[in-house]
């Protein structure tokens, strides 16, 4: 194995988190190497017209995502069961390539309600300690929102986020999300256009219920935009080929457009594509990471990249996997609830209800990945849970993203599955239907965790990661409640037909997409016994190892995770600049 020239920081994963860490380092000219297993897809059929507009290839067949034949995950619902591999990745879709999943995301950028960072304290104060079930290890994250606020602000500016402020320096703003954490500045761009379905939702929840709907904050550019680094975005054209696609119009805020081309011009920065990381090499005696061993896919050669500090910024599940395979930290044991690596693995409890309105032209093809109109009245702890028997909640809203005809048609209950009657229903309802969706929180459960599978390996001969996960009573109750609220709203719309209100329930079903917002496995926290990294994302045992991404979340909220991921990554970049100047435990 050949050893490469030393660098200050090596980053595993060329996605959103890794790119943001690298940006903060490059501004200070700290030598950084980012290792990305995939390639750069700009210039290929996936980012060019007309081939970009291929629903079958990029959406149905998930042509941009991680290839399960190379690496997948095994899963089971209880620790007593035998796991099976997800032979086809469907429930969630990890990205690969420069920009990671951020190259083909839908662009939803939330600031979670600030109490999420001290969730246990919040619940104990509001409902009493006994309200938190014993098997729900929620915790305070060890970071305050006011520490993260400048980084949320910076990320919104870097990615040109379009939205309507809801809480400007503590003053609630009309038309915004009144539950969002307070912000120092408005969004850098005006919100995207509202869809017809969004207008219907907005009118009904305002008029009938007095809720406060707001446009989904979007890293989709509502106008021409130049960010603080001089990187530019064009205006979104609402083409309907957004989430799961690479934007050919350069209108989507992505790491591959806004971060890596800028980084390529900075002295001391190196991006190595087709570099598949095999292991973090560390010296147990000195408790230091020496660097990263990886396979150069272009030559088949194993290489070693030594560095002063190692940053794990791969996909959520990969972060956990590399710590487990590298024997870094104590693996979690659900029997005793001891050990930290793999714990607090969470997903989301998403659900929906279909709405059919004969006299309204929904035109679902006029949309983008994040042209949503939503309410937060039933999210997280924005409502009183006394007597409800569960904790958490979800946002409720409509997000018409493109009406792509293989996957986004809706048919009334009872429609035959083929034949002339099936065609008639498609013809009648395609342009006149939409769904109200719920994105439900998922709190950790003692029995939900990650470890290495004993039987299955990937294309490189390394063990697959094993998920032990199911939706637990808390998710089922919150999903029933929030889906019921969505159904109340749907009924008030005066719809011609409503689909069934279908809350998320166990058992977890690996066949259907339920969102890629998996979190946890390397949770942050103040207690080294139950957390993998400190509140500054520094590994508790190996001081020069840092982990960033949704893998550090101790729980998952009813919002998309990218906002907090980005804020934590930018803060980590600044912390690493301090660390490389003066190594030691960061506080």
């Amino acid at each position: 194995m050949r050893t490469l020239p030393h660098c200050s920081v090596v980053v595993v994963g060329g996605g959103l988190a890794g790119g943001l860490v690298a940006r903060q380092l490059a501004r200070r000219q700290i030598s950084t190497v980012v290792l990305e297993r995939g390639g750069d897809r700009h210039g290929g059929a996936e980012s060019r017209l007309p081939t970009q507009r291929d629903e079958l290839r990029w959406d149905v067949r998930t042509g941009l995502m991680q290839d399960a034949a190379t690496e997948t995950y095994t899963f089971r619902r209880e620790a007593t069961a035998t796991a099976r591999p997800m032979r086809r990745l469907a429930a969630f879709l990890p990205g690969t390539g420069v920009g990671g999943a951020g190259s083909h995301w839908g662009g939803q950028v939330f600031r979670w309600a600030d109490y999420n960072l001290s969730l246990r304290s919040r619940f104990e104060q509001r409902y009493g300690p006994q309200a938190i079930p014993e098997d729900m290890p929620i915790r305070d994250w060890g970071v305050r929102y006011d520490e993260l606020e400048p980084y949320h602000d910076l990320f919104e500016k870097l990615f040109g986020v379009s939205g309507q402020a809801g809480n400007l320096r503590g003053v609630i703003q009309p038309g915004g999300n009144p539950f969002e954490a307070p912000r120092q500045n408005p969004y850098p761009q005006a919100p995207l256009e509202r869809t017809e379905a969004g207008q219907i939702f907005q009118d009904v929840v305002t008029r009938e219920f007095g809720y406060r709907p707001f446009p989904s904050p979007a890293a989709l550019s509502s106008g021409a935009y130049e960010n603080p680094d001089g990187m530019r975005l064009g205006a979104c054209q609402y083409c309907g080929h957004c989430e799961r696609f690479i934007c050919e119009a350069n209108a989507k805020g992505t790491p591959d457009l806004l971060l890596y081309p800028w980084l390529a011009r900075q002295p001391g920065f190196t991006l190595r594509t087709h570099s598949h990381v095999l292991a973090i090499e560390h010296d147990p005696a000195s408790r230091r990471a020496r660097g990263v061993r990886y396979l150069d896919l272009a030559t088949g050669e194993e290489l070693f990249q030594p560095a002063d500090a190692v940053v794990l910024a791969a996909f959520t599940l990969t972060n956990t996997r590399l710590l487990l395979s590298g024997r870094l930290g104590q693996p979690y044991d659900p029997a005793t609830a001891t050990g930290a690596v793999g714990r607090n693995f969470c997903y989301q409890a998403n659900s929906g209800i279909a709405v059919f309105m004969r006299d309204r032209w929904i035109n679902p093809f006029l949309g983008a990945g994040c042209t949503g109109t939503i309410i937060d009245e039933f999210n997280d702890d924005n409502f009183d849970h006394a007597g409800l028997g569960f904790l958490g909640g979800g946002y409720i809203g409509v997000n018409v993203t493109g009406g792509r005809p293989i996957g986004a048609r809706r048919l009334p209950p009872g429609t035959p599955r083929w034949g002339t009657a099936w065609k008639r229903a498609n013809a009648e309802w395609y342009a006149h239907s939409f769904s109200i969706g719920v994105q439900g929180s998922c709190y950790p459960h003692r029995g939900n965790y990650l470890d290495l599978d004993p039987d299955y390996t990937d294309a490189f001969g390394q063990p697959l990661l094993r998920m032990t996960f199911d939706f637990r009573v808390n998710e089922e109750k919150l999903s029933a409640y929030c889906t019921g609220q969505a159904a109340r709203i749907a009924k008030a719309m005066g719809a011609t037909i409503l689909g069934p209100a279908a809350p998320r329930t166990a058992p977890f079903d690996a066949r259907f997409y339920q969102g890629t917002h998996v979190t946890g496995g390397t949770p942050m926290g103040a207690d080294p016994a139950t957390s993998v990294v400190s509140p500054r994302l520094q590994h508790w045992e190996v001081e020069n190892l840092f982990v960033v991404g949704a893998s550090v979340f101790p729980h998952n909220a009813g919002h998309n995770p990218t906002g907090p991921v980005a804020a934590l990554a930018l803060r980590l970049g600044d912390d690493l600049a301090r660390y490389t100047a003066k190594p030691g435990r960061l506080s």
Partner: protein
Amino acid sequence: MLPGTVQPAAPSAASAGPADAAPVIYQSLGPNEAAFVERLVEVMCPADEFTPGGVACGLAVYIDRQLAGAFGRGERLYQRGPWRPGAPADGYQLPLTPERFFKLGLAATDEFCRQQHGRAFAALSSPEADALLQAVASGRAAHPAVALHTWFDELVYPLFEQACFADPIHGGNRDKVFWKMIGYPGLPAVNGLNIVRYRGKPFPGARAPQSMEDFG
């Protein structure tokens, strides 16, 4: 036709669309298999006021190309052991490529059909074929070796929907007939003004959808 005989697939070119269309060469399906698939798409997509019959819409060609191509060969499918049978919610767990599984299910359905009707599926009348597919799709058709319900739900039906609604470049949805049926405008490059102008109104582009080949 005598019981047990099968209509060969040769005439498909004649029924497959415009007179000037190239003859269909199936790349995965043999004659009996092609006859089964052509019967299937004609039943699931009969010629009616919405579209021509399934063969003329290119649906059999789409399915054949998918089976012969990367999808049928198991692209993006993890195919390492150990192999463990699973419940439906565990997803696909067979050590078969989708092409092999498709053909296994096809043969099993034909076997079930012969037990019920004394004839191959391709030789059934439309009402008979429809009833048989209903039995398969609902789980009423049992076969000792193949879970026909799973086969239909997770392989055949998605291929049928894709054949109807994917871009015609993949072989189905010929002449964008299904896009016209539902009013999907296809692949316009810019809707920045349209999303405002046609919010809540009929969209003119829905009458003349554009596919990849129209683009430029």
